[in-house]
């Protein structure tokens, strides 16, 4: 019954009028930006990150989580209505959801997405409440070598699950790790890679990096598509609710999706994107008539959307208990926590139980709000969707610029923003994904510190990483993961999965 008592603590922390207010604002803003065509979840969260910094840690994290759920929900709306996936996670929703929209079932698709997400969100919250303390107590046993191995495993899995070339993803992780080391070395006090610039002494600021790589690069990329290629609203609305048959087909899919999502979300490197792909594949396999897929099968919306949300929820578990961000969104969350002066990890649960449980409770509240605000407001979101991009993008750039500037009031950070935008554009042209870089950037200093401590402990003997059982298991899992990719059969499955 510990869980209940803990959840009660959480709800009393999260359910203050102020926090509910921030949760509501977060959900609204997230949906508002997420629904705009051509802005995916990551850019939305990156852009809105600065506005949460002025709040106290719990409120700011609650608002940020609200922004995340809202952005995801907004992204699904865009996918269903205009067939424009903001990011990888909603590609799947595009396939079936947009076909439904073309048949006049947009309302049903949106409602199923919202209800499935809400259900998944409830289950996800219970998962976090149940698994969180368990993992956190395991994490209490962790020592430097174990943390180092954990981070290696996390980065390797993130690379395996990224799209595109594995080698290039590894390269990007390494570049991220190096960028994370810029600034003053904590244990020797020597500055590295600062080029005599005082603005770099404390390291590269998180905001210009992520807002440049995700926000600005997204704008530039969208500008490269000619106007005519940008999709227009083709959906027709007849009724908002799914009919009886649709509902009957949707709920088992939502159940399966929730299960898949909750489990995959916990994995390092997993999270919402992987979960929605996996759920779609499963739905196609279990369907009595797979030929309906691709022509507006409602299971193909209900399953992945639920999986998406459950995964989004449970991917907080490794972050909050182990301090390991499993995907770029969690890296953003981790960055926000560190700016607030909280070191994510097992200590959060013991030192700041109100923070952990408050966030867990706010996840549920956030999901409830999404259903409440989104079903009636769909009309407004639809209007926003038809906003032409030529009016939107100068506003997006303005938000990015003000966000970076107002957080530091230094023009140097703006120059960094421009530098990382250019960097992001170059790597985009070279077919490299920026997501692994951000994970590396966040983990860089932590990895170095844990490696250094481990080697001091062992007097320079690297076998410490296989002598300690926890570390050995984690490294074995890492080797297994690498072996699986090199193994040709699995490799082709991975490629197939991404092609679908």
């Amino acid at each position: 019954m510990d869980i209940l008592a803990n959840l009660a603590t959480g709800f009393s922390a999260a359910a203050s009028l102020q926090n509910i207010g921030f949760c509501l604002i977060g959900c609204m803003l997230g949906t508002l930006v997420g629904v705009l065509p051509g802005i995916g979840t990551i850019p939305t969260v990156a852009m809105l990150l600065p506005i949460t910094f002025g709040l106290n840690p719990l409120s700011s994290l609650i608002m940020l989580a609200g922004i995340y759920y809202g952005a995801q929900y907004g992204g699904s709306t865009t996918s269903i209505l205009v067939n424009m996936p903001g990011e990888a996670g909603s590609i799947v929703t595009c396939i079936e959801g947009h076909q439904m929209a073309r048949k006049g079932r947009a309302g049903a698709a949106l409602a199923v997405a919202a209800l499935g997400s809400f259900f998944a969100g409830c289950v996800g919250t219970v998962f976090v409440a149940g698994f969180g303390p368990l993992l956190s107590s395991i994490a209490q046993e962790f020592n430097s070598p174990d943390y180092f191995s954990l981070m290696v495993l996390g980065l390797v899995m993130a690379v395996v699950l990224a799209h595109g070339s594995l080698l290039k993803a590894i390269g990007m992780v390494l570049i991220g790790l190096v960028l994370g080391l810029v600034g003053t070395d904590v244990s020797t006090g020597i500055t590295r890679y600062t080029f005599g610039l005082a603005g770099l002494w404390d390291g590269i600021d998180f905001l210009p990096l992520v807002i440049g790589l995700f926000g600005i690069v997204e704008v530039i990329r969208n500008l490269e598509q000619p106007d005519s290629e940008r999709p227009t609203l083709k959906a027709k609305f007849r009724e908002l609710w799914p009919n009886r048959e649709e509902f009957k087909a949707a709920w088992p899919a939502a159940l399966r999706g929730t299960g898949i999502g909750a489990l995959l979300g916990i994995l390092p490197g997993g999270g919402a994107v992987l979960a929605s792909f996996a759920s779609y594949t499963v739905e196609k396999k279990v369907a009595k008539d797979p030929s309906r897929f691709g022509h507006g099968a409602i299971e193909g919306v209900a399953g992945p959307e639920s999986a998406n949300n459950a995964g989004a929820q449970t991917s907080f578990i490794p972050l909050l208990t182990l301090g390991l961000p499993s995907n770029p969104i969690m890296a953003l969350m981790m960055g926000a926590m560190m700016i607030q002066g909280i070191a994510p990890g097992a200590a959060v649960m013991t030192a700041r139980p109100d923070l952990f449980w408050g966030m867990t409770a706010s996840m549920w509240i956030g999901n409830l709000m999404l259903v409440i605000i989104n079903l009636p407001l769909i009309g407004i979101w639809v209007k926003l969707l038809s906003a032409p991009y030529r009016f939107l993008y100068p506003a997006i750039i303005l938000f990015c610029a003000v966000g970076v500037y107002s957080n530091s009031a230094e023009w140097f950070q703006m120059v960094l923003l421009a530098v990382f935008s250019l960097f992001g554009y170059v790597v985009l042209k070279l077919g490299c994904e920026p997501a692994p870089l951000v994970l590396g950037f966040i983990l860089g200093p932590l990895m170095e510190e844990n490696l250094r401590r481990s080697l001091i402990l062992s007097r320079g003997d690297p076998t410490i990483f296989i002598d300690r059982p926890i570390s050995a298991v984690l490294l074995a899992a890492t080797v297994l993961t690498i072996a699986l990719i090199v193994f040709p059969q699995f490799r082709s499955t991975r490629e197939e999965a991404f092609q679908e």
């Binding site: 490269e224 506003a395 490299c432």
Partner: protein, 149 residues
């Protein structure tokens, strides 16, 4: 002689190698230390050697395996967008939020070849108004509205 069969990968490989070599070069004065006592240069050198190695493998592979070309780069977009950000950085403390927002909007708008002046002047005025109301009045960000503060 060799032929580049996958320009995009080749470019990425060269990019990684350049980054790694620069990383090693600028770490040359950092003490490497020993395994037991890692100096400030230990981890950076390790990582950059990794980056150079990956870069070399990616580039060499691009000579053997066919792959996608590097998509055409339309410099107009990035140049105008980056210019608008840098102008914001330069102007915000000198000219205040209204002028800065208007300049950012106008410059950013010309990232599209089809930009229309009148439309964008209206947009610039609208965004400047919104910026002042939202950022200064509502969110109370410390930014001057005009050049006199």
């Amino acid at each position: 002689m060799f032929r580049v069969r996958s320009p995009q990968d080749f470019g990425a490989g060269v990019f990684f190698m350049l980054f790694g070599v620069a990383g090693l070069f600028f770490a040359r004065n950092l003490a490497f230390g020993s395994t037991e006592h890692m100096g400030p240069g230990y981890f950076p050198v390790l990582l950059n050697v990794g980056i150079v190695t990956i870069g070399a493998v990616v580039a060499l592979r691009a000579l053997a395996v066919d792959g996608p070309p590097i998509e055409g780069v339309a410099w107009r977009g990035p140049i105008f967008v980056l210019a608008s950000i840098l102008l914001f950085a330069f102007l915000i403390e000198r000219a205040g939020l209204v002028v800065t927002t208007a300049v950012l909007t106008l410059v950013a708008a010309y990232a599209r070849r089809e930009a229309k002046l009148l439309e964008n002047l209206l947009l610039a005025a609208g965004l400047a108004l919104m910026a002042v109301v939202l950022f200064v009045f509502a969110l109370r960000q410390p930014m001057p509205i005009w050049w006199w503060g």
